[in-house]
């Protein structure tokens, strides 16, 4: 990666894996998994009888079949579970068709909706997924089924990828960007171009004019928030509202979205990046039950 050749990897967010040590998966009747191979990050989620058992969250390589395996292996790590123990796998995200061991591919839109429904409960009506390279506003029903959606993938502005490039450019670690952007007395005018490519020169320009990093970050987060709010408004928002994906971890963007919308997003209970894989695992479970019924 271009970034990796640079000395400090400001863009690099923390990869993680987790499993529930108190749960014995061997008692499980249905073990289902979802693999979300996004353009920037990949996740695997394993459910045992519909309960969250394990997950992993890592960066996607340029070889998506491999990314899928890596994510799965890492989720299985230390669980004693093997891929063969998983009854049904659903692939989702950009590389969904390249998950060799998945029985079925379902779009990240349906999966994020369903994952959010699991994470936030049936009251959730509007989900904003700010993913690596696109951004989706989704309306869901109480069962977690998509009612309507709007997608912006023509532009990386307002996406994780954009934020990575920006963190790198300013030499601020991506996990710090949010808080730092809030350390301004008053909101600056937003950067006119949220385009990843031109934000660079615009930001450099602002810094040459003597803007402190905090202010530049504030301007960028504001512009990002503004873009996605447009998307949400066009779709029409209904509470409860929640944000999934990597940017949901960026308080600078989230708080600005909330301010523009005039409503609060529900506080996440789980890693917001796994929503897609989680939804996939829930679909996998449902699909297996359907199969068994029909037999």
């Amino acid at each position: 990666m271009a970034e990796e050749t640079t000395s400090k990897e400001y863009w690099r967010w923390t990869e993680s894996n987790w499993h529930d040590p108190d749960m014995d998966w061997k008692d499980g009747e249905i073990i289902s998994a979802g693999i979300d191979v996004g353009s920037v990050s990949s996740q695997a989620v394993i459910l045992v009888d519909g309960k969250l058992y394990a997950y992993s969250n890592m960066r996607t390589g340029s070889n998506s079949p491999k990314s899928a395996e890596n994510a799965m292996d890492w989720a299985l790590e230390g669980t004693g579970m093997a891929l063969d123990d998983v009854h049904y796998v659903v692939g989702t995200g950009y590389g969904r068709v390249n998950v060799s061991f998945a029985k079925r591919a379902i779009t990240e839109i349906a999966c994020h909706a369903r994952g959010a429904n699991f994470m936030y409960g049936p009251t959730i009506k509007t989900v904003l997924d700010m993913g690596g390279q696109d951004c989706k506003a989704i309306r869901v029903d109480e069962k977690g089924k998509v009612v309507a959606f709007l997608m912006n993938d023509k532009c990386a502005a307002g996406t994780g990828r954009g934020m990575e490039v920006f963190a790198d450019l300013l030499g601020v670690h991506i996990t710090k960007v949010g808080e730092m952007s809030l350390q301004v007395e008053e909101e600056p005018p937003m950067v006119s171009s949220t385009c990843v490519v031109f934000a660079k020169s615009e930001a450099s320009g602002l810094m040459r004019e003597g803007w402190p990093k905090e202010r530049v970050l504030a301007a960028y987060c504001l512009a990002m928030a503004h873009r996605v709010v447009d998307l949400l408004e066009r779709l029409g928002i209904e509470e409860d509202f929640a944000i999934t994906g990597g940017i949901a971890k960026n308080i600078g963007v989230v708080s600005r979205i909330e301010r523009e919308l005039g409503l609060k997003a529900l506080k996440p209970t789980l890693d917001t990046q796994i929503a897609g894989a989680l939804g996939g695992a829930l679909f996998a479970r449902a699909l297996l039950q359907k199969e068994r019924k029909s037999k």
Partner: protein, 440 residues
């Protein structure tokens, strides 16, 4: 030491008054039992005039531009429109106008007063030549709770090929329109008022053209930035007596400036024209050109002829069109009035390029010659497909005729699509290529 003497334009104040009264009258029309209607700058406003003197229009293009001048309000309007599901590449005037309907806030604010709610029109009276003109008002009607609309299709081909049946098609729609107006408003129609309004229309659109013709003088008595705030009156209500009278007074003053070598740009050393509407929020670009390079924009086919009426005379000169009334014609009845009005408007220069860019290229090249230009600046205007139509071909034709052309991209009413810094940088390059020395 300035090259020419200059002086502020005396008529300026009166122009401001007319515009202010226009937006105020529209707002308060109902309080006096009057009527309000909405339509485009090209609509046949002379026809509703027959409904009475208390019937006030609001033309949406200049109204949209008025909003564009108020950057923050404009941003809110544009976003409100986008959020209502209307595409961002639609006419920028309309997106400003519709936004102010959706937000229910009036784009006209009297000094020191609060912004008022948007005064809903009683009906729509529009014409159609750009493929969105009538469609705009379907949206207005949707947003205004289904107000009635009537539109007249004027796209019957270029003026030089005007046919009797084409004229008949227009006049027929106009007759039907008058019946529709009577039915819709419940008012009795007054042909005398129509005749007077038609006479005013010819008078104002011809007089404005004469004013622009005077800008052939060196130094130019007017520069385009000023012309914008003058021609706009015609886009508000070309059929009104005030506007017609104003242009005739203005004509006298500008003639006086020419006679006394009073310049619009005191260091005029290079002359250009532009094309299509400017990015309204950034007219200071003209000041930049004048102060840094002594560059005067003497106008454009747009300022000359969006409302002004011109014609190719028998010697092949491009001249202000003399009114039929000035040649002794006296309108006697409704049919004749409508016929004169239709025939008069069909020669509108800004209607010709809708059929082929060659018509517009010929006029622009002639202007470049007669107004003694050094170059041409074309605004590729993302905000208006009607007037940007064929602009790339116009560019090629003007280049072929030997005039340097500079192109800049932008949007007349959506500042998000105009980059001021890069545009001035282009102007610098253009001026360099014209060997224009920087002033001071």
């Amino acid at each position: 030491m300035a090259k020419y003497k200059t002086a502020p334009l005396k008529s300026w104040q009166r122009a401001k008054e007319i515009r202010t009264e226009y937006y105020q009258n529209y707002a308060v029309a109902h309080e006096k039992g009057g009527l309000r209607w909405a339509g485009g700058a090209w609509t046949f406003d002379a026809i509703p005039a027959g409904l009475g003197d208390d019937v006030y229009p609001i033309t949406s293009e200049p109204y949209g531009a008025t909003i564009a001048f108020q950057k923050d309000f404009s941003d809110r309007c544009l976003e409100a429109t986008e959020r209502a599901g209307y595409a961002r590449d639609l006419c920028a005037y309309m997106r400003n106008y519709w936004g102010s309907i959706i937000l229910n806030e009036y784009g006209w604010v009297d000094p020191g007063e609060e912004r008022k709610p948007f005064p809903k029109p009683d009906f729509v009276w529009q014409d159609h030549i750009c493929c969105s003109h009538a469609k705009w008002y379907q949206v207005v009607s949707d947003l205004e709770g289904g107000i009635p609309m009537y539109c007249i299709d004027v796209s019957v081909g270029p003026y030089e090929h005007t046919t009797e049946h084409g004229l008949e098609y227009l006049v027929g729609q106009m007759h039907d329109g008058i019946e529709w107006l009577e039915k819709t408003t419940g008012r009795k129609y007054d042909d005398e008022k129509l005749i007077e309004a038609v006479n005013n229309t010819c008078r104002s659109t011809s007089a404005w053209a004469k004013v622009c013709a005077l800008n052939q003088a060196i130094p130019a008595p007017l520069e385009e930035k000023t012309m914008y705030s003058l021609y706009v009156l015609g886009t508000l209500q070309k059929s009104s007596k005030d506007v017609a009278d104003f242009y005739e007074e203005l004509l006298a003053e500008v003639q006086d400036r020419v006679d006394n070598q009073i310049a619009a740009v005191e260091n005029e050393q290079v002359r250009v024209m532009t094309d299509t509407q400017p990015p309204w929020g950034f007219l200071r670009v003209f000041r930049y050109m004048a102060s840094k390079y002594g560059c005067v924009s003497v106008g454009s086919l747009y300022t000359f002829a969006l409302i002004g009426n011109w014609i190719w005379d028998d010697e092949g000169n491009f001249v202000p069109r003399p009114t039929p009334q000035s040649q002794g014609l006296v309108i006697k009845d409704r049919d004749q009035a409508l016929r004169v009005l239709a025939e008069w408007e069909l020669s509108k220069p800004e209607w010709q390029h809708f059929y082929h860019p060659k018509y517009k290229s010929d006029m622009m090249i002639q202007i470049a010659k007669d107004w003694k230009l050094d170059g041409v600046m074309l605004h590729y205007n993302r905000g208006c497909e009607g007037l940007s139509l064929g602009i790339a071909e116009n560019r090629l034709a003007i280049l072929d005729s030997g005039f340097p052309v500079m192109v800049f991209e932008g949007n007349m009413g959506d500042e998000r699509e105009f980059d001021e810094a890069r545009t001035t940088a282009r102007i610098d390059s253009f001026m360099e290529s014209l060997d224009v020395p920087k002033l001071n």
